[in-house]
């Protein structure tokens, strides 16, 4: 295993030492490439098929979200966060709303908390389903994509019924919720849970014991727990390396401490373990949803928040466990209606750093598998 501290930085401008040795090849993977999940550009240095090193070039999807925040009021910035990790928009919204709530020292009422948890966990499943489909597609199994998209559709339908949007939902408001759960929300969620349980088994049937899948994912992109921590990697990628770190348990937010669930962890930190961890996480999310939907209390859905939000001067950091890892918001308030600074700690951006470590001395095909297994969303990497 490569130690991230001793890795030599890539020097792509350096003239080729092995000039007459035609083996070394530099290829540009991306920004338009079918398997880089958006506009990631990876400069690969190859020795035949072996990866000598790689460098990620990002920023093709940079929209200056953090700067935009400084020119918007706290409420106005809320929809923008949905556009970062657009496959898990609800989680982004939850993180932002909770951070501002922390700054304002208000807390969303219990009913709002429950609905938030249900929607966020549904979103985690949707995000993992999208990850599974695209990851399998990258490795060459084209069929799971259609199965996962078919089932993800049911989640999006619930979102659509709840707030009118499917992808960038803007589901939550600072202080609670804007919309009361629609009639039949609980029934829909229960139906979904019983619908999707056998479907997850179906995905596993296609892949988990598939010989080719095992060969392509076992011992590919291995990262040890120590390295993962050193690189700041979080989420399923960290847990697959055997580190039991889930912010839902470690620093409970929302009302996650009310629910019983386990944190699945892996052993080897390879692509297969990350796959298994995410599959188990989907099942745990279903468990949380089942508990939450049974216990939705009656009551208000919005806490008392001033119409014009002027949080006290100060700064706050709050993080949640997004589907891809630790999603943190650091907000500095100068007492005005607009934040002085918003800094987002996106899980994809930090996890992407591990790509070089995970891909060294592996083959080109593994780079694709590792990009898939890191589950990056370029909207979040570039912001």
């Amino acid at each position: 295993m490569t130690d991230p501290n001793t890795l030599s930085p890539l020097d792509l401008d350096m003239p080729d030492k092995t000039f007459l040795d035609a083996n070394e090849l530099v290829i540009n993977m991306g920004p338009q490439h079918p398997a880089t999940h958006g506009v990631l550009r990876v400069i690969l240095r190859l020795d035949g098929e072996k990866v000598l090193g790689l460098e990620c070039v990002i920023g093709y999807l940079h929209r200056g979200v953090e700067k935009i925040a400084e020119n918007r009021t706290y409420t106005m910035f809320n929809p923008y966060v949905d556009r970062m990790d657009y496959v898990a928009a609800v989680s982004n919204g939850l993180g932002y709303c909770e951070t501002v709530e922390k700054l304002l020292s208000v807390e969303a009422p219990p009913r709002a908390q429950y609905i938030r948890v249900i929607l966020t966990e549904l979103n985690r499943i949707a995000s993992h389903q999208l990850w599974l489909g695209t990851h399998a597609l990258d490795i060459g199994a084209i069929t799971p994509l259609f199965y996962t998209f078919r089932d993800r559709e049911e989640i999006l339908k619930i979102f659509e019924k709840y707030c009118g949007a499917r992808l960038t939902t803007h589901a939550f408001r600072i202080g609670g919720l804007q919309y009361e759960a629609y009639d039949g929300f609980e029934r829909d969620v229960r139906n979904f849970v019983s619908f999707v349980k056998p479907k997850i088994d179906e995905y596993e049937e296609l892949l988990t014991t598939n010989r080719i899948w095992l060969e392509r994912t076992k011992d590919v992109g291995v990262i040890s727990g120590k390295d993962a921590i050193a690189l700041g990697v979080t989420g399923p990628v960290l847990r697959a390396s055997g580190v039991k770190w889930d912010i839902r348990k470690a620093q409970p937010y929302a009302n996650y401490k009310n629910f019983e669930f386990e944190i699945p962890i892996g052993e080897n930190g390879d692509t297969y373990d990350r796959y298994i961890v995410r599959m188990m996480e989907m099942r745990q999310s279903l468990r949380i949803i089942e508990q939450a939907v049974e216990g939705i209390p009656e009551g208000p859905i919005m806490a008392k928040v001033p119409k014009v939000m002027k949080p006290p001067v100060g700064e706050v950091y709050h993080s949640i466990e997004a589907p891809k890892g630790e999603l943190g918001y650091f907000i500095v308030s100068d007492g005005s209606t607009q934040p002085y600074r918003v800094r987002v700690r996106p899980p994809s951006f930090v996890n992407l750093q591990a790509l070089d470590v995970m891909c060294r001395d592996q083959l080109v095909a593994d780079v694709i598998a590792v990009i898939g297994t890191l589950d990056i969303v370029l909207g979040e990497v570039d912001r």
Binding site: I27, P34, A35, G140, A141, F146
Partner: protein, 431 residues
């Protein structure tokens, strides 16, 4: 004039292929027939693959161009022909131009010896199977030149992968083929044959498809070939040379329009070609199923109805779907088209019941049906399997298939010669 007619008619009573009989006219007719048939098969395969894959993936597939997307392949072909013909600036123009033609030529030339029936082949060579293997491996030359001439990294890697893959799997494939050829020598004269027609006739004489011969040796040999042939044709799960998630499109990344469509054509005809080798060697070529269990003139008659029935069923399927078409004025033409297609299929089916036709198409039908089974397998693989990695692919080729193939070859030889071997052993002991 009379002589020409006589020349043409003289072949009709022959029991040889036109090439073997030296009849130039009929050989040309057969070449044209095979070419047209193959082109239709590729077009049909294009539609079927998209449709079958779509249904495996809970979607509909092409539905817009023509009823149930039946005209989609034609629309695609037109689109490809009308596209701008691009040769990249840095490419080696002559080689770039030549590469797709090499591939297509190799893929089509092999059909010279494919036996659709005892007389239904362009020609019968005494080295038929060697010719097929040799010419079909020429296509790797086209792929390598395509990758090199593009002067671009992805095609180059794709071409390298392709050449390595084809070379390694050819070895295992060859071993499997040899073990089947050994089986052809189990007759009175102890001479085998390499002729494609001869191989099928050997199976007929021995009364068994080589698939079931020396159970399980035949099946293993067939299995090796079936794996190697998927690798040979660069199809999933061995489609590394064109792995779209890694190499964008592999060796044909820089090709577009008509040139690209030539690669497409070659890929599909190569699939059909290797499938026909497999059918010829192990599945009894043009022979109908169960010749041992269900023999006699009654069964022969019953089986000769199957081609007609198959087409009637296809026609019935069309009519059923015609009845299910939306009853909306906009769908009128599509409904009519589907009904017309069904009518054509039914007509062909009815034609096949006529005694003179029935006697002549049976072998072509069974051969095509078996090849079609392989085509379905190809699609099924693609819908099911992830892609192998390059080193794993090599591992499967050299460490699994090759030793198995070698062992199999020796075992087949030993089992085939067991009587002679035993006699010799006895002789040694008696002395």
């Amino acid at each position: 004039m009379h002589e020409i007619v006589q020349y043409i008619e003289s072949y009709l009573s022959s029991d040889k292929t036109p090439g073997a009989a030296g009849n130039f006219f009929w050989a040309t007719v057969y070449v044209l027939l095979v070419f047209v048939g193959l082109s239709i098969a590729v077009i049909a395969m294009n539609w079927l693959e998209r449709k079958i894959l779509a249904h495996m993936q809970v979607r509909l597939g092409p539905m817009r161009v023509g009823p149930h997307g039946l005209l989609q392949p034609i629309a695609d072909a037109l689109k490809l022909l009308l596209k701008e013909d691009i040769i990249p600036d840095g490419a080696d123009k002559v080689v770039f131009w030549m590469a797709p033609f090499i591939v297509v030529l190799a893929a089509f030339t092999v059909f010279v010896v494919v036996p659709f029936g005892p007389t239904h082949a362009i020609t019968d060579m005494n080295i038929g199977i060697l010719f097929m293997l040799g010419v079909s491996s020429l296509s790797v030359l086209g792929i390598v030149t395509a990758g090199w001439a593009s002067n671009s990294h992805y095609p180059l890697i794709g071409a390298l992968r392709s050449s390595a893959q084809m070379v390694s799997y050819e070895v295992a494939m060859g071993l499997a083929v040899v073990s089947a050829i050994l089986m052809t020598s189990l007759n009175e004269s102890k001479t085998g044959t390499l002729s494609m027609i001869g191989i099928v006739q050997a199976q007929q004489e021995q009364g068994i498809w080589f698939l079931f011969k020396f159970f399980p040796l035949g099946i293993i040999a067939f299995g090796i070939f079936a794996i190697a042939m998927v690798a040979e044709t660069n199809r999933a799960p061995f489609d590394l040379p064109e792995a779209e998630s890694e190499l964008t499109a592999g060796f044909h990344t820089e090709y577009s329009g008509f040139r690209w469509s030539l690669f497409f054509l070659a890929e599909y005809s190569a699939m059909i070609a290797v499938s026909s080798i497999a059918v010829t060697l192990w599945l009894g070529g043009w022979l109908r199923p169960f010749p041992n269990l269900l023999h006699g003139t009654t069964w022969d008659l019953a089986f000769s109805f199957i081609p007609g029935i198959a087409f009637l069923l296809l026609g019935a399927m069309c009519f059923y779907n015609t009845a299910r078409m939306p009853k909306h004025p906009l769908f009128k033409i599509q409904t009519l088209g589907l009904a017309g297609f069904g009518a054509v299929l039914t007509l062909i089916g009815l034609l096949m019941f006529l005694p003179p036709v029935r006697d002549r198409v049976g072998d072509i039908f069974w051969f095509s049906a078996k090849v079609a089974g392989f085509m379905y397998l190809y699609i099924w693989y693609r819908g099911t399997f992830p892609r192998y990695r390059f080193d794993q692919l090599m591992k499967v080729g050299w460490k699994v298939l090759l030793p198995t193939g070698l062992a199999l070859l020796i075992l087949t030889a030993v089992v085939g010669m067991r009587a002679e071997l035993l006699a010799q052993v006895k002789e040694v002991f008696q002395r």
